[in-house]
């Protein structure tokens, strides 16, 4: 069981909560993760926290990358974290990308977000981070791909 779980491709949900339509970043990240050999499920725009968590559950995702530029991150991301906890999910790597002020980053991390990528971050940083973090949460001996 454990071996097959750690050998399978990393499954990432790229999620776009909020009412804004700024999907440039989400699409670029989705593509970069796919090009890096991961299985990527992109939710599309305007997703509620409930829809996003349902996708994470349904897709048995290893990670979820939340892209948000609507200014509502301190409302929507805590809700997502709460819903994930409600589903008993504590092993999914949650990352956030967007225009997030520094003090909000600290608070989001305190709530369990693994990393926050702000404007100017390279796609390779996100790819590397997700690969490493998922690797660590799977069998610690099996690193990398």
């Amino acid at each position: 069981m454990e071996a097959s779980a750690s050998q399978r491709k990393i499954r990432v949900v790229v999620a776009k909560p909020g009412l804004d339509g700024h999907d440039r970043g989400a699409k670029i990240i989705a593509r970069a993760l796919r090009d890096a050999g991961m299985e990527v499920i992109y939710t599309g725009l305007h997703q509620t926290p409930e829809q996003i968590v349902a996708t994470v559950v349904q897709e048995d995702a290893d990670a979820v990358g939340i892209s948000i530029l609507s200014g509502a991150h301190m409302t929507l991301i805590p809700r997502i974290m709460e819903l994930l906890a409600g589903e008993g999910i504590d092993d999914v790597v949650v990352t956030v990308g967007g225009t997030i002020p520094a003090e909000d980053i600290e608070e989001l991390k305190r709530q369990g977000v693994a990393e926050v990528f702000t404007p100017g971050a390279s796609t390779q940083d996100s790819v590397d981070f997700i690969r490493r973090a998922v690797g660590e949460r799977r069998a610690p001996a099996v690193q990398g791909d």
Binding site: D23, R34, V40, Q124
Partner: protein
């Protein structure tokens, strides 16, 4: 291609525009169009390559129009007055995301988003507060809203009506460009076809009642921000515009009855000459298509007048003061390209909504170009430059190539439904990011010349209490209005919406007068129209 220039020593760098267009080391007379007099011409004369007016900025400077809006109508009204007090000459309204999507501030989907990225407008009452004390018959007002454009225009017209100002005296613009929403900005309420009908209703109503109003601002800005190249911005925007013209003509309007009131909105990105060439090509294509294809006889129908905003996407969160320089170059591109109005972004906008200080610097940037740089002293100073003319021709050629592809798909509406422009833009955005990530393309402060110990900037925080305040405002409107009157107005709208031949503007004005909320009005449309969800592509 013309003769290869002799081998010159070259730096190891990417000699392409920010859009990836290869640039030659040298342009000469050989790069000019075959008959320069016809292709370039004179400012104010067909094909208007050099500008839509003969005198351009010698006659009148561009309108300095800073886009603003946050919190409730009260906060935004104060920001508007601040801008007018500092010499701004027109207003431009940013709405919050719930307003753009047709949700009221008390809708569950609006939580956390009310007043965050623009002003919350739910009812006529908010619109009245937003423009309180501002002379609506003197100041031109632009409203950036699309799917619910007809609703917001109805709020605005009724707000003016209650102050005794009839619609024919209102000057301004409402964006209404729904095609680019599906393509790039992604704020929608209805499926494509009924949304297109609403655009037609608005154009038709304005052509009869609002002679000083621009019913559509055909926008490339958001297309570019989503990652499009300059050519894609040019081609998709003009094709959107031509599609609105086609539709209005098919509804029986005379092209000269509405085309003079169509206006455009372009991005000014960081690649100075590519941008200038884009604006020049756009004017030429628009004039030709309107004259040759649609048989416009009124010269004003041929004039592509446009607003420009500097590229938000070019700004960096790192070393934000550098953004003042980026914005200056971009503003210069807009001015050298002959823009009619201009918004300059504030240096802190990669981080948050701008502070008052940052907005003032942005406005001052325009004022320095206008009054100190000398650039507006002569009309189209770059006209005839080998490089600029060659690039203009190339942009035009490439735009027609896209037109042909879109026509093959059955036109722009069909192309949008098939995700064609969406996919092209996503591809271009990805290519650009790869260039930056690989270090081929340098962005100062991001992948080169970083400052490890950047001081954090003081940013504008939107008080979360404003959301509560707006919900209270809305609740008091709901409590004070005549509920039966609202129901009757909404029922009339539902009935009209189900009749495709009806123009919905009169019913929308009645809904506004009855203090129906935006969300209620959108909901009544949706009963007839349905909703929209995109098939995501990446």
């Amino acid at each position: 291609m013309a003769t290869e220039p002799r081998e010159l020593p070259q730096r190891d760098a990417l000699f392409t525009t920010v859009s990836g267009q290869p640039i030659k080391p040298l342009y000469t007379e050989e790069d000019l169009p075959e008959s320069p007099a016809d292709a370039i011409g004179l400012p104010g004369e067909y094909p208007f390559t050099r500008g839509v007016y003969a005198s351009m900025y010698r006659g009148r400077l561009w309108t300095m129009r800073q886009f603003a809006g946050y919190g409730t109508a009260e906060e935004s009204n104060a920001r508007f007055r601040y801008l007018l007090d500092h010499g701004q000459t027109g207003l431009s309204t940013a709405f919050d995301m719930p307003s753009l999507m047709g949700h009221d501030s008390d809708h569950p989907r609006s939580e956390g988003e009310v007043g965050r990225e623009g002003v919350a407008v739910d009812t006529l009452d908010d619109m009245e507060t937003l423009f309180a004390g501002i002379p609506l018959d003197e100041v031109s007002v632009s409203m950036t809203i699309n799917a619910p454009a007809a609703i917001m225009l109805a709020f605005y017209v009724v707000a003016a009506e209650r102050r005794g100002i009839p619609p024919e005296r209102l000057a301004g613009t409402i964006q209404t460009d729904i095609l680019k929403e599906y393509i790039a900005q992604k704020e929608w309420c209805f499926p494509v076809d009924p949304a297109m009908r609403l655009v037609g209703d608005l154009i038709e109503w304005c052509s009869e009642h609002m002679p000083r109003w621009h019913p559509v601002s055909i926008s490339g800005y958001h297309i570019r921000e989503a990652g499009a190249t300059a050519v894609q911005e040019l081609a998709f925007t003009l094709k959107d515009g031509l599609t609105y013209v086609e539709q209005a003509v098919a509804r029986g309007l005379d092209v000269d009855d509405f085309a003079p009131r169509l206006s455009f909105f372009f991005n000014a990105h960081i690649d100075l000459f590519e941008e200038v060439a884009k604006y020049r090509a756009a004017r030429r294509i628009w004039a030709r298509e309107l004259r040759e294809r649609f048989g416009a006889r009124d010269e004003r129908s041929l004039l592509m007048r446009f607003h420009t905003q500097t590229a938000g996407v070019s700004l960096t969160a790192q070393q934000p003061l550098n953004n003042i320089i980026r914005t200056t170059i971009e503003a210069l591109a807009g001015v050298l390209g002959g823009t009619q109005s201009l918004h300059t972004n504030s240096y802190d906008e990669a981080l948050a909504l701008p502070t008052e200080e940052a907005v003032r610097v942005a406005l001052r940037t325009q004022q320095i170009i206008a009054h100190e740089s000398g650039v507006p002293n002569t009309v189209d100073p770059l006209g005839g430059a080998y490089f600029v003319e060659a690039l203009t021709d190339e942009m035009e050629r490439a735009a027609y190539e896209y037109f042909a592809k879109i026509d093959e798909l059955g036109g722009m509406v069909e192309a949008v439904k098939r995700n064609f422009p969406q996919r092209e833009i996503a591809d271009a955005a990805f290519r650009f990011q790869q260039e930056v990530d690989s270090g081929q393309r340098l962005v100062v402060g991001v992948n080169a010349y970083q400052n490890p110990d950047d001081e954090p900037l003081e940013i504008l925080r939107i008080d979360p209490a404003l959301e509560r305040k707006q919900m209270d405002r809305l609740a008091s409107v709901r409590a004070a209005r005549d509920a039966a009157g609202v129901e009757a107005a909404l029922a009339a709208l539902r009935e009209q919406a189900a009749r495709p031949a009806a123009n919905l503007m009169p019913a929308l004005l009645d809904c506004a007068r009855a203090h129906a909320t935006e969300g209620e009005i959108v909901g009544s449309h949706q009963d007839a129209f349905g909703t929209y969800a995109e098939a995501p592509v990446f």
